[in-house]
Amino acid sequence: MADVAAVLSVSGLSLKPGATPFDLSIRRGEIVGLAGLDGHGQDAFIETLAGLRAPVTGEVRAPLSGHAITSFRRAVASGIAYLPRDRRATGIFPSMSILDNFAIATVGRDRRLGLISRAERRKRYDYYRERLAIVAPDPSHPITTLSGGNQQKVLLARALAHKPDVLLLNDPTRGVDIATRRVLYAVFRELAQEGMALVVLSTEIEEALVLCDRILVFREQELAAPLEGDARSSERIIATMFGRAA
């Protein structure tokens, strides 16, 4: 699989001892969906891609930088950004402002002469506020004053501020209202068109069908089937999730 457009390649990966290893490569500009019954490995897979979990066998590599992804820090340095699932537990910093929550992971970039430049930070934030249509009257207010959807957009902005080649989204529309979902879908497609690769773990089959070019269905910690093109139907996905041959 010598794929010139690959931005992330997985080889011989297994998520539990004894599971059949699989190879995979994720290309520029595609949106890959991850599906499966809760706890069947899609979660472990996206965390492995993010360097948050060590693979049982095999490795994940970012061909652009040539590095194996062995830690979260390494993943970010190799152009991978990750949006965690539980906004409240592992996403927001509740006592901090919207601006702080946006800038914290890339805080070094706003530094001028050792101090954080407020103008620079505000400029970066405003770019993403417009792009993601974040509704926040005053970005110096605490993040907890925002609705769940807008908090999620701020977290997405935090991830995008890394300017990644690959964006890993762990259930990005969880607890988000319909209007915001539409905005997010549009943004995801736009990002893919600009050449970013997106990996979306989704708990809703409809969402995966609408959004993704390719859907990887997981079952019992193994990659059960990669469904592409016309093979992506909700019947096929459900059948694969439950382990029935369709």
């Binding site: 820090r73 592992t90 996403g91 910093f93 509740p94 006592s95 702080d100 992971a105 805080v107 070094g108």
Partner: protein
């Protein structure tokens, strides 16, 4: 008070209390606002505020540092011993501050690296430090500070025409630096983030172990600075000189509105807290209370002040 709950209003609240206490003192006690008494209070408050820099940072990150009094005593005694033994003063300072940084760093490293409660780690390390110093000096430290340090902190000192010792303007500059560092440096922002949500911090590229190690090291360094300044202030070395600072640094921090659960607070609040504590002490002693009664009243005052603006959320609001 204005908008209760916001950081600024807590700082203003604490400052207001300090001013009210001062007015009460001026009304009740003759000479309370005299130049000498004002200078004495400024010096004492500055010393307490410097010792509390570390406690503020450590509390913001979600920890607590009980080793501060031991490190103060350590710096106080070791500086006197080494300088008294004929070593160059600046070299002595370098050695003492480096050792303090190592002690503090060890506190932070053990606490965060192994997930142990900093209360117990700093207490254990502090006890070892104090025991080692006592063992080295046999319990009877000797030596003193150079005259320049005594001059620097002396209540009678003056900066040109201004009748305060150099300690006070230097402290004001230091307070400004700490405040700016908290608000405008990556370190400061990461400190608040880590205290606010420790689980989210690693995903925002914050290294908890490195942050805790650095922050506890900074805390110990400022405790050591206080120890050296106290050597100049009292004139002779005394291993227990830091003991009052154990609870006073915590009290200054919480009166200033920094929450012990982490993620919230400001150094200006701590400075206000140090002023409040100094005013209360001076006022009560001025009123003729025994030191023991002063302590009792101080306990009540801390609880009353904190109950105004330092209350935790009910568990039902955290679900």
């Amino acid at each position: 008070m204005l908008r209760l709950g916001s950081d600024q209003s807590r700082v203003l609240g604490a400052l207001l209390v300090a001013v009210l206490l001062h007015l009460a003192g001026t009304a009740l006690i003759e000479g309370y606002s005299s130049a000498f008494s004002m200078r004495a209070m400024l010096v004492l408050a500055s010393l307490l505020a410097i010792a509390s820099i570390g406690q503020t940072l450590v509390v913001i990150i979600g920890g607590i540092d009980l080793s501060i009094p031991f490190v103060i005593g350590f710096a106080n005694v070791v500086t006197a011993q080494l300088y008294g033994g004929g070593m160059d003063f600046w070299l002595v300072c370098g050695i003492v501050l480096a050792l303090a940084a190592a002690i503090g760093g060890l506190n932070g490293l053990i606490s965060s690296g192994l997930g142990l409660h900093p209360l117990i780690v700093t207490l254990g390390i502090g006890t070892i430090v104090q025991g080692s110093v006592l063992l080295w000096t046999g319990g009877f430290p000797s030596g003193s500070a150079p005259a320049s340090v005594t001059e620097f902190v002396s209540i009678g000192g003056s900066v040109g025409p201004v009748p305060v010792p150099w300690l006070v303007p230097c402290f004001v500059a230091l307070a400004a630096i700490v405040t700016v560092a908290l608000a405008r440096t990556p370190y400061g922002r990461r400190l608040f983030a880590l205290g606010s949500n420790p689980r989210a911090a690693p995903l925002a590229l914050i290294n908890p172990v490195a942050m805790w190690t650095a922050t506890f090291a900074i805390s110990a360094v400022f405790a050591a600075v206080t120890g050296i300044l106290l050597l100049g202030f009292t004139g002779s070395a005394y291993g227990e000189v830091g003991q009052p600072y154990l609870f006073q640094t915590i009290a200054a921090v919480v009166i200033g509105g920094t929450a012990l659960v982490g993620g919230r607070g400001s150094y200006l609040g701590t400075v206000a807290g140090a002023l409040v504590l100094t005013e209360i002490n001076t006022l009560l002693i001025g009123l003729g209370l025994q030191p023991s009664l002063v302590q009792a009243v101080l306990g009540i005052v801390i609880v009353v002040l904190v109950s105004f603006y330092g209350r935790d959320a009910h568990v039902r609001t955290t679900i």
